[in-house]
Symmetry: C2
Subunit: 196 residues, 2 copies
């Protein structure tokens, strides 16, 4: 034992993140733990702390991977033929797809709060910004002024998030899964009608 050196530091990092993701997908966040991840990758729990600051740090990196995956999925699925209002609408439906298809990972993205004081690291918020840029682009093609385009994009982006979040967690009084798209449609349609 000790000093096996089977894997490099970066390899272990990847193994931890991937094992954590698999466990969350199959058993949920509450079914995941540092010990279970360690067992899954064939190392002792102490090894995780050579590579990550703490358990929150592991979750943060899993979330980072989720954001990367969403960016890939969404940017690949974008229909380049659409433009304007239709493009924005299609984009938000793609986010809805991501959320429903990877529910557990998507939940961890928003519902896990890091220790109160420390804010999200900039390399992480940059991933958010990158994903957001997919929304900003079609909005800028609709509206000429850059500042108001950004405000509009933020508003619709966050608004759509709220609809998806509350509906998927059953907190949006009586709204069933099937009606989410109606609300998203209402949001985009009417907001943009008002803004243009």
């Amino acid at each position: 034992m000790a000093r096996r050196n089977d894997h490099s530091r970066d390899e272990i990092k990847d193994m931890v993140i991937n094992a954590g993701r698999r466990i969350i997908v199959s058993d949920g966040l509450s079914g995941c733990s540092a010990r279970k991840i360690a067992q899954e990758i064939g190392y002792t729990v102490g090894t995780l702390y050579n590579v990550f600051d703490n358990y929150d740090d592991i979750l943060l990196h899993i979330n980072a991977d989720t954001l990367d995956g969403m960016y890939q999925t969404v940017s690949n699925a974008i229909d380049r033929d659409l433009s304007g209002v239709q493009a924005v609408k299609a984009l938000l439906l793609l986010y809805l797809d991501c959320a429903t298809e990877h529910r557990a990972l998507w939940s961890v993205l928003f519902e896990y709060n890091l220790s109160e004081k420390t804010s999200l690291p900039s390399w992480y918020t940059q991933k958010i910004e990158l994903l957001f840029s997919l929304m900003l682009k079609p909005m800028q093609s609709i509206m000429k002024d850059e500042a108001t385009a950004r405000t509009a994009a933020l508003t619709l982006w966050a608004g759509a998030h709220g609809i998806i979040q509350l509906a998927l967690t059953g907190r949006l009084a009586k709204v069933k899964q099937a009606n989410i798209e109606i609300l998203l449609d209402s949001l985009v349609e009417n907001y943009l009608k008002g803004v243009l």
Copy 2:
């Protein structure tokens, strides 16, 4: 020991909920536990399980109290002189106040997910519905058709939640606390302009 009978079942229930709320407010959700609640009220942890199903059940009841409190606060603070768009806008700003003033409790409301399968009990979703009725009312005075008024109210309500949630948790790229009101204003103003 045993069979003290100092407090009735309902009294203990209240003590647990209130102690839990105090701990969450001062130490956050991660600082709260069944054991700490028990210690705070001078009982053993086992006693909590005579009165509640499990720890999730305790949090659910704390959330129920939070919802009751929000209903009281908001319905008392409503300016009856306002109407139409202004009334809706003022209402969402009152929610923002609730969220910022009771951050920890407000977080638990949305960021704590009960065990995957079981959905929220109806006595709980009724409290959500009651709070939502405060939003529905002014919307119905703006729009005649009841169904579209409800869709509009749901959309704005959930949309505002998304803006508040993402902004307060630092997940809405570069949006500072001060800009939340701008986004809320943009949401309500433009959405209603489109809908009317």
